[in-house]
Amino acid sequence: MLRLPRYIVYDIIRNKVIIAYTLFLFISAFSMFRMEENGSRAMLSLLNIVLIVLPLVSLMFTTIHYYNSYEFIELMLSQPLSRTRIFLSEYLSVALSLLGAFWIGIGIPVLLFSPDASGFALLFTGSALTLVFTSIAFLAAVRSKDKARGIGIALLLWFYFALIYDGIVLLILFAFSDYPMEKFTLLLSSLNPIDLGRIFIMLQMDVSALMGYTGALYRDFFGSVTGLLFTGGIMVLWIFIPLLLALRSFKKKDM
């Protein structure tokens, strides 16, 4: 099963983008921990990298990789290999390369400087977000034959999840501020993996004490085992639903 991914990962490493990405993550994480006296402030800065840069790089890298591998996929299709196997090999290779970059770039500094609950929450969220956005990017790329369109859709999705979604949530909260919205916001946050990740990490940090009544409610929920299972479960759904949809399109596609 791992024969194909070996060659694909080799090809990915050879094109050096992934190495530059690893170095970028490592240098920024390392310098943040060095510059900030307080470990938890460094974690906050790292949190922003994980929530903004990670999804963007995962989306862009994956879509561009897919279009560049088109020939390779064609070649594999003429061999005695099933489409499911070819697709999952591609996913596995890209996901493992991006995860590797994350674990080396952010994982090592975090384990060195801040190996506590919030550190592990950050690593968990970062890994989950990498997988989620790799799945979403595969879906966008498989569905659109045109390269520019696929990359455009991936970018729009990033804008949506990283920026626009928060605006919409704020708007809803503002419009219905007279009603009790705590449970509803919990639901809203699970519709965006980035939001979910942010809340999950924030509540492992000391700053959550400053967040008032909603914060207390969230803390009750996300601090418990149910909260951990809930976050994990929603992330798993976010990984597998786009992935399975992409696989379904890939199996029907004409090459």
Partner: protein, 255 residues
Amino acid sequence: MIRINYINKKFRKAQVLEDITADFDCGQVIALIGPNGSGKTTLIKTILGMVKPDSGTVEVKGKLINADPHYRNDIGYMPQIGRYPDNMKVGQLFTMMKAIRQVDDSRIDNDLFLKFNIPSILEKPMRTLSGGTRQKVSAALAFLFDPPILILDEPTAGLDPLSSEILKEKILLEKSKNKLILITSHILSDLEELTTHVLYLQEGKIQFFKELEVLQEETGEIKLNKAIARIMKGQLPDSDWGEQLLLVNKDGKIL
């Protein structure tokens, strides 16, 4: 060995293949000919499972092709434009293909691999190869596993005369081993030494599928290009392609 039943395929609105039905047996060398855009490559890709037909079925060795990808173990495919991963070295490409097919070393057919002098370029990355060299790599790969079915899409286009001659000799040798060989080409003079049958496609429909001798008898022409031009003139007086063919023939060349 290959049975095609009522294949229909539309790309958006264009009908690319219409009610294609044919039976190919071992020992036959079938020339697939027809103007550009007549559906030759689509037909080949349908047999390989790269294009999924809207309706109709393809059987290879009595088995429907969508059930199990292993039928492609029996097929060697040489694409029209061989495109490979940029960073992969020629040597790696061959090791990878051998790893995928898992064929005994004794069954490997190194004939073209050696005659095209591929051992001398094993260390070169695929992106640095010229178009003709890529064709040689594609040809060597198609014949490497000694498959009972060979599908060659424009095999001699882009090859220098010497390599083209080597490839033709190889095709003749395989023909004598009672294999089924499907060839598309616009260079009819190349085909007439090789083929036993001619399948003529136009606008996605089979115009005729005949033995070469029958065709020669019916038209009274020995040369394949003249025979086909005659048929096309008789059947479809408006066909420009037949006209052009006759014009080009006077110079003794086919474009």
